[in-house]
């Protein structure tokens, strides 16, 4: 590439995008007229754009929608519950959490498929393999010893095709703050690695009791999971209706405060496959290793659980804003799963901006009275 080309080449890209100024465009056109190299580069950019235009745009899997909306609902519910706890309950719960705890240590090995021969490597405290994991093989061939040379009997649990979790009981590790030795063998060969176990998971559970005699409002949310009907009208809004039911109920609540303080440490052991080799290839790139070490500490306080006197049957009615038709009334004993049957909604004419309700015919929910803000206000 001659110096002129080297200087002007960045402009080819900008010119291709229509991002050059008048003088740059003129300069570019003059140069292109006499430079086959830059012409070739421009043509390759065009070819590149053509190739990108042929890449399919992918719709997200349907289960992703369900997963997102379910998490969104959980976020919303979580917020409501947190607001309902009084500072007194929170303080008591956190104090209780400090008293009792358990420990669990977990190592996660993630394996990504790759070549035919199983190879393990370690970097950044991560053991990696290039093969899908065979649970039985791992169980047979894994040996773990702590820093003092004592054998540890791990519990190996299959999480998915690509993941197993290896749990080490804390009492088995005589030196929890030191690395453990992991030996993985296959046939006559074995590979040994040193892995630092993640910090222990600390869980605290402490029951506490309190008595509330004030009237409480039971709230239950009934969510329909059917997919909304699709409309081709631009701008139409599809909704998954959610039916909120409330019912006043007077109960004597004996809340049990369960406090969970979890300090989780996860070592994710990820393997990255070696690039596959073509029959004609003579070289291969070095194996690459992906490492993820996540340390999270969370302290959460679950909402109080209340008991409902036997025989109490709160009635749940749909509020006017709901999309369920027919003003359905559902009666459900607290704590049980209720199935509410509603008629399909009348035919809807979709217009831009119209909210379209799903023709939900059944909705099931477990009713749980929440006492939230009625306690300790």
């Amino acid at each position: 590439m001659n110096p002129e080309c080297r200087r002007i080449r960045p402009l080819v890209s900008a010119y291709f995008d229509g991002e050059t100024t008048t003088s740059e465009t003129q300069q570019m056109q003059r140069h292109l007229a006499g430079c086959p190299d830059c012409q070739a580069a421009l043509n390759e950019y065009r070819q590149m754009r053509l190739q990108f235009s042929q890449l399919p745009h992918l719709a997200a899997p349907l289960e992703l929608r369900r997963a997102v909306l379910s998490q969104v609902q959980a976020v919303r519910t979580g917020t409501v519950q947190q607001r309902g706890l009084s500072p007194f309950v929170q303080f008591g719960a956190i104090a209780a959490a400090l008293l009792i705890f358990g420990i669990a240590v977990a190592l996660i090995i993630t394996l990504v498929s790759g070549n035919n021969s199983t190879e393990y490597s370690v970097a950044d405290n991560i053991i990696t393999s290039n093969q899908p994991i065979d649970l039985q093989e791992v169980k047979r061939n894994i040996k773990i010893t702590d820093a003092n040379g004592r054998a540890i009997e791990p519990t190996v649990v299959q999480i998915s095709q690509k993941k197993v979790e290896i749990q080490i009981a804390p009492e088995q590790n005589s030196a929890p703050d030191k690395p453990v030795s992991v030996t993985l063998s296959k046939g006559s060969q074995s590979q040994q690695f040193t892995v630092m176990p993640p910090p222990p998971t600390v869980t605290a559970t402490h029951p506490a009791t309190a008595t509330a005699t004030r009237p409480a409002t039971a709230t239950s949310t009934v969510s329909a999971t059917t997919s909304p009907p699709q409309t081709t009208n631009p701008g139409a809004v599809n909704t998954t209706p959610s039916v909120k039911t409330t019912a006043p109920a007077t109960v004597t609540a004996i809340p049990i405060v369960t406090t969970t303080v979890a300090v989780t440490a996860t070592a994710t052991i990820t393997t990255t496959a070696r690039p596959s080799l073509s029959p004609t290839a003579t070289t291969a790139s070095s194996p690459t290793v992906t490492a993820t070490i996540t340390l999270t500490a969370t302290a959460s306080v679950t909402t109080p659980v209340a008991t409902t006197p036997p025989g109490t049957t709160p009635a749940f009615t749909t509020p006017p804003a709901t999309t369920a038709t027919g003003g359905t009334t559902v009666t459900a004993p607290t704590g049980q799963t209720t199935t509410a049957a509603t008629s399909p909604p009348p035919a809807t004419t979709a217009r831009p901006g119209t909210t379209i309700a799903s023709p939900i015919t059944t909705a099931a929910a477990t009713t749980k009275p929440a006492f939230g803000s009625d306690l300790g206000d």
């Binding site: 900008a14 590149m48 992918l58 997200a60 909306l69 976020v75 290839a281 790139s285 992906t290």
Partner: protein, 234 residues
Amino acid sequence: MAEACATPLVINKGYYNKSLTEGINVLSDESTVIERARQGDEAAFAAIYDRYQKPIYSLVYRLMGNPDDAFDITQDVFVKAYKGLSKTSDDLNISAWLHRIAHNACMDVLRRRKIVRWLPWDPAEHVNITPASPSDEPEHSLVGKEQSEQVQAVLNQMSEKYRSCLVLREYQEMSCEEIGVVMKLSRAAVKSLLFRAREQFREIYNEMERNGGLNSPAISETTRRGRAKKGGPR
């Protein structure tokens, strides 16, 4: 003195800008939906999800190169969006905002893994992906399929910043200005980045072709690291 652009900005007819145009047509409706979602309305948020899941999932898929990551990260993106929506201003450009969250999420994951997963493209792993529409499905022709796989294979080997920039421009068909918003870069920086990204794409693509196309071994680690260190192709 600043000079005017001689060439008018290209008006793309592709997927991304098509959706932007629709967005303008239903602007008032979208504002209403966003406002409802901002107040925690799950149904309104579901409508936002339905509208943007395709571009966001596609972007994440192309940046990460595999459906598992695309699933997880897209999920995170929308949950983050739901949580953060209440803090946004009334004049929110939700498309750019979602793309920015998605881009940052991908970069975070890649950074957390310390190195990019330079996995070879495995067509068998991608058999179940759902094309958005029949017109988006070039796999009916063998040539189209091979080309798609090869483009993704090249993308998988590019440095993440270049890959991101190139995907936003050529796949999502964003303008330099829009890319600047998503990547938090000036327009000039985007132009410069695009040039280096294109050159890296050419370099890897040509190297792959010389070595026998898709079945060729990935570019050597040394070469790749050399590129990353120097910040661009040579």
